[in-house]
Symmetry: C2
Subunit: 187 residues, 2 copies
DNA sequence: TCAAGTAGCGTCAGTCACTGACATATGCGG
DNA sequence: CCGCATATGTCAGTGACTGACGCTACTTGA
């Protein structure tokens, strides 16, 4: 068996995704994942802190890119426009990854335990974005609220993009932010 | 030991909250919770499906009350005003229960595993609220977006209420929705 | 009042996620 | 070829959670 480390990590992720799809998350043991990857159960837990985390690896990249995009955005934007600008800068991370991410999203949607983790990751990203907003002088509560609202809108756009691939993610994103503005408008 | 069932359930919740605060969630075993409640570990799992759920009992009530409040709100309100109206109708569920709600929210905020469950409950409630909005004729995407945004705002108000009890939850709620309006305003 | 049914509980054995301690193997620079 | 760091294997253990079975208190109906 290769001794690379990063290679083993990739094999574990692949084996886990396969088994979660074949038998379901609950009927898959960590020992089985490790076995399919040609490794030991103990090694699985050296690469991933728990059975769920094996499917959540790109999250750190997305968060870092978003934080950077917020930090580097033009200075004259107000929070929600700033967030829209930042989301448009990172949407390629999703669009480039679509064929690989689709089975993963299916498994997550079908497994409560994985959906919980997914929500936690989303909250973590929103928190990081709020921090980036604060760095730009946005007041604490406004920053938290804007980050959560912005992420919810982004998430809505991503979901619409999965359901309807005929339009680009960018188009869905603009549509979602337009919906958001319309919601907040007081007639 | 009393044989009531509902009484045992309450003792388990109380014991769990106390122990999670004293030792932390991770250093508390389900056997300890049961022992403090004068019960057996097996009985704990007859009342609650897992170690986290013992702190999430009122969620079903809150969800049902929110859905009802949305359904019964005046007919001429915009989605966000409608949600604010509904939240004000159910905030007494938190204010009346503050001695239990406050330490509970503190423990949840301090424990990643409980935060995950909290986020899952929030998503479930938001989904139900979105359904109630749809029943009132709000378009599907707007309903989902409004429910998530509204809940995020409500949650922010509840957090502020915990951090600063000098003002009522209602005041914090109005403040949070005012912040939301300000965020969406385009100058 | 008592027999029978039922709901809540206890006990036991077992699976599986996860962890610490220690041993072993692999690939590196010297 | 030799130490050394890193990746992995082995073992024993804890604790969450489950199924099966038996016990006990409370209720119900004759």
């Amino acid at each position: 068996m290769p001794r690379s480390g990063a290679e083993a990590r990739r094999r574990l992720q692949q084996a886990a995704l396969e088994l979660y799809r074949e038998r379901g998350f609950d009927r898959t043991t960590t020992a089985e994942i490790a076995a399919r990857a040609g490794l030991n159960e103990r090694t699985f837990f050296r690469h991933f802190p728990d059975k769920r985390e094996v499917l959540f690896d790109g999250e750190a990249d997305l968060r870092a890119s978003l934080v950077q995009a917020v930090a580097e955005a033009p200075g004259d934007l107000q929070p929600l426009d700033l967030l829209l600008h930042a989301f448009r800068k990172v949407e390629h991370l999703l669009e480039d990854n679509r064929p690989f991410a689709e089975p993963r999203l299916e498994v997550i949607a079908a497994t409560p335990a994985l959906r919980e983790r997914d929500l936690a990751k989303a909250a973590s990203i929103a928190e990081a974005v709020a921090g980036a907003l604060r760095q730009r002088g946005v007041a604490d509560r406004s920053a938290r609220l804007a980050a959560q609202i912005g992420w919810a809108t982004f998430h809505q756009a991503a979901q619409a993009w999965i359901d309807d691939p005929s339009q680009s993610l960018d188009a869905h994103l603009l549509q979602a932010f337009s919906d958001l503005r319309a919601l907040c408008r007081t007639p």
